[in-house]
């Protein structure tokens, strides 16, 4: 038996986790690769060169500092991480000296002077970015648009063609369609792919998410920081921008995602205890959105990280984990209040998001068309209500002034009544619509309400009248586009389509107005909804009529019975201004009569 000789004596534990400082830094570098690749693809080789210059500067300045201070050289990769992160934070066409100055500032001023690795008071990359932003603001805010073919081949041009970013210019900075998706979802998709102007590494959200998932899976970063940061930012966006649509755009635009994954999670400058980290992330989210919404900079991530970094030592000092079995001074069990609070706050924010997105969120809805005088846009809220944007005007005769009006009218899920009205544009002199006349009212009530005067002001009455017309049109819009009718087998005369829903009969009816003045036969097509219960005209939607203003005066017929319409005198029908309109009105009278006849015939067929 061989004698055991060469054994060592050391303190416990004798087995250690396989992680090491260098391995952690290497993991971060690996996680940054997708961002570097995307940045190079989108912004060209010059962008890659900037990142490399920045990384080299950081590494060299650290070694140079060690040399000057007669310290051993350090090869823990942390300078490389700082360099790559700062490089990815630069605009793609920054001049060469920007990464050099930034790198030296980050490493020497922020990191090494305070004691090197782990001793820096703030994230070196974030601080250097803020420094560059203040010192070279004109260069640091000039972005170019992402362009795979253009930038990639272009080589080392530094012509600054400033491209707008979403945070600076809103959706105008984004394309109307992206990868086949239109409108809102197109914008989201574009930001998700990061195919837009911005810093080299922070545009492509997918690449950042890939890096973040890798780091979380390797347990390098604590998932709480990015997740809670994004959650808080989402809730704050909802509060500050009052729009659920804005949430995704704000989360994906700018440096929020990059900052949340790579910069806020920096070890030395984030709290050590997990629930302190939650509090820190909440602070980050709040500050970021406040700066974005109310600050003079369009982007607030770096500033928020810098500010919260300064608070971290205080958090670490005053908020400690509750020890296992710890007792209070009175000898009672000490409860982990901080833990409960943070969990409750996060849960609360998640609930707020889940509950309020359906209340204020919108989706786009498909429409069948039709011509409308007032409705400019319609979307469906996530809770099923329909929101109409209406715009029109009221002629304030007292002042000989045409007041532009715009409202957001919301109809409930079934289009039965007005859920809410939100004024967007109306008189600033107090001649405002009396919303109580309409909110919560059904179509019939609004149609029946012809007395619209508010005692004092004629101008307010005019506004009310205009709003009434707009709301009535919203109902007609709903009826034609969203109401669920069953198609009936009927054709005859001018009627090309007949439908029924309960007592409501809807006809698509065609006719011709003979505009003799212009020797023109104006084709007309309306969708007319009749109510068999009351025997009245309920809605009229225009599909085709004159584009020169010789249009049907719909209120003339709405709510009228067949007899009332038949017995109308020509004077009643005549439109004041133009003969063309009168001819259209007369033609429509005939078409309505035809519809009434068709309804009777259909109803008898069903009843009999």
């Amino acid at each position: 038996m061989a004698e055991i000789k060469n054994y060592t004596v050391a303190s416990s534990p004798h087995k250690l986790d396989r992680s090491s400082t260098r391995r952690i830094m290497l993991d971060v570098l690996i996680a940054l690769i997708p961002c570097i690749v995307c940045g190079t693809l989108y912004f060209g080789f010059y962008a890659l060169l900037l990142v490399l210059v920045c990384t080299a500067t950081c590494f060299l300045s650290e070694q140079l500092y060690n040399l000057v201070r007669k310290k051993p050289f350090t090869f823990d990769f942390s300078a490389l991480v700082t360099g790559v992160i700062l490089g990815l934070n630069l605009p793609p066409r920054a001049p060469w000296y920007i990464p050099v100055i930034g790198g030296v500032f980050a490493i020497v001023i922020v990191k090494m002077i305070f004691g090197g690795l782990g001793k820096n008071f703030a994230n070196p990359a974030a601080t250097a970015r803020v420094f560059l932003l203040l010192a070279y603001s004109s260069v640091m805010t000039k972005y170019i648009g992402a362009d795979i073919s253009g930038n990639f081949g272009a080589g080392l041009t530094t012509d600054l063609v400033t491209a707008p970013t979403y945070l600076g210019c809103g959706t105008d900075a984004l394309r109307s369609t992206f990868l086949g998706a239109e409108g809102y979802w197109g914008n989201v998709l574009q930001l998700l792919f990061g195919y837009t102007g911005g810093s080299i590494g922070e545009t492509c959200s997918l690449a950042i998410l890939a890096g973040g998932i890798y780091l979380t899976a390797r347990r390098v970063i604590d998932w709480r920081i990015p997740v809670v940061y994004l959650l808080t930012a989402a809730v704050m966006t909802l509060l500050c921008f009052q729009s659920a649509k804005e949430i995704l755009l704000q989360l994906l635009a700018g440096g929020l995602l990059f900052g949340a994954v790579f910069m806020a999670t920096d070890y030395a400058t984030s709290p050590k205890w997990r629930y302190n980290r939650v509090l820190y992330a909440i602070g980050l989210g709040v500050i970021t959105v406040l700066i974005r919404r109310f600050g003079s900079y369009p982007e607030g991530v770096s500033l928020a990280i810098l500010l919260m970094n300064l608070i971290v030592p205080i958090l670490d000092h005053f908020i400690l984990p509750v020890r296992f079995g710890a007792l209070t001074a009175r000898g009672k069990r000490q409860w982990p209040i901080m833990q409960w609070c943070m969990r409750a706050v996060c849960l609360g924010m998640a609930v707020v998001l889940l509950v309020s997105i359906p209340l204020v969120g919108y989706t786009e809805v498909g429409t069948k068309g039709g011509t409308y005088s007032y409705v400019t846009d319609v979307s469906r809220k996530l809770n099923g209500e329909y929101a109409f944007e209406v715009a029109g005007s009221a002629y304030l005769s007292d002042y000989d002034y045409t007041q532009p009006l715009a409202y957001r009218v919301t109809l409930d899920k079934t289009g039965g009544s007005v859920a809410s009205i939100q004024p967007i544009t109306q008189s600033t002199k107090g001649y405002v619509a009396e919303l109580a006349f309409f909110v919560g009212k059904t179509y019939d009530e609004i149609l029946a309400r012809t007395e619209l005067s508010t005692d004092t002001q004629t101008s307010a009455t005019r506004t009310n009248e205009s709003l009434r017309k707009m709301i009535l049109e919203c109902f007609a819009f709903y009826d034609y586009n969203f109401a669920d009718y069953k198609i009936l087998d009927y054709k005859g005369g001018g009627i090309s389509k007949a439908e029924r829903q309960g007592d409501l009969y809807r006809f698509t009816v065609e006719g011709v107005a003979d505009l003799a003045e212009y020797s023109y036969q104006q084709p007309l097509r309306y969708v007319v909804t009749l109510d068999r219960n009351t025997g009245t005209v309920r809605y009229i939607t225009t599909l085709i009529e004159s584009t020169y203003g010789y249009v049907l005066d719909k209120p003339l017929y709405l709510g009228k019975t067949a007899e009332q319409i038949a017995t109308m005198t020509d004077e009643t029908i005549a439109a004041d201004i133009t003969t063309g309109a009168t001819v259209t009105n007369v033609a429509a009278r005939g078409m309505l009569a035809e519809c009434f006849a068709a309804m009777e015939r259909l109803a008898e067929g069903y009843d009999g």
């Binding site: 055991i4 416990s12 087995k15 400082t21 050590k272 984990p321 007792l327």
Partner: protein
Amino acid sequence: MAVFCFFRQMFKMKGGISLAIFTKGVHPRGCKELSNRQPIGVCPDPDDVWLSLSQHIGAPAEPVVQAGDRVLRGQLVAKKATGLSANIYAPIAGTVRGIVGHITISGKKREHIWIENDHSDESISAQPLEERTPQAVLSRIEEAGIVGMGGAGFPTAAKLNVRGKADILVVNGAECEPYITCDESILLSYTEELIEGIRLAMIASGATRAVVGIEKNKPKAIRKLSDLLADGEIAVHPLQTRYPQGAEKQLIFGCTGRVVPEGKLPVDAGVVVINVHTALSVYRAIVLGVPCYERIMTVSGKAVERPGNYWVKNGTPLREVANFCGGREDCARIVSGGPMMGEAVFSLKICTSKTTSSLLFLDASESESKVAGPCIGCGRCVQACPMGLSPTFIEEALFAKKYEEAKRYGAPACISCGCCSYVCPAKRFLAQSVKLAKKIIRERNL
């Protein structure tokens, strides 16, 4: 993950009585398969044994033999001192060569009784105890010199003598340290004896229920014990595989959901904890009349030819164990105890005691020689600490000589489990720093 564990625990609960889950700590590789395949072996009696007089917490025992006396196996050689102490019995038959100074694992020279083996193996033993009253059982446990065999060495009679203040007896079969499998082998090979021992311990302590906490990485043991304990006052509680699940307070929390207040004993939470091996020793002392002079020890590691669990007489020099099991030349470190809390052996002259649960022969790939780097502030030590301390801040305060600050961060509550050093990516000596801070705070009475 925690929610998932919670539900799993709920459905898998078989007679367990707690839903509390211990989530902190670390999860090192078990390496238990090295030593848990073979049946329990017997290490041959050595030619000489050196019995330490303080194999337990408390005052050293007082020798009752002199140089030249002949002793039989199972004969009392040192009597417990007044106060907290324990009897010591001869593990072999032979001649006492004297009361001599001999090195111990801590590096200090302590008095040992040196017995030379005459290989006659003559033995004496007490009569089995028929009377099962708490008083009789307790006095037999005290007489047999049984101490906590999980490693602490607290005299068991003193521990079980709670006079009805505890209603639950927790039996520690967690064995959360990597490599060690002696408790597992007892659970599998001496199941009936163990259950009888637990019943006797319940009688002694007056507990009405008993919970055997076993980590889930020992499914065979859980199954075998659960089958034998289909109903009754003894329950088996599967625990998360997590180090330090077997630490006293964490075990009590995992098995019963009770939290032992800081600075108090388990009995203040109505709980008494004994180790699986201690329960087996209780059985041997009362039913067989055999006092505590030998124990099952795990010999494991990659640098040993025949790893496994062996009955080893107390006082056996480690060199004998190494020779019997085939310790190899490429052994880089010898550890007495588990790799997380055990102490590195500096000399193979050191002898085993009642509390030596394992001897590990680790090769270079299993043992670490680390160089500490600067703290990068990752906070992993804070997340891992099962006691809720902040090791990195305690170390910072210690280096700045701010001991009050170290106390505020919780240094006195350290259980020396080593989780902080284990997880530290900068390989800092956190556990040692916290231990030192704790010592200074205690000495200066801050």
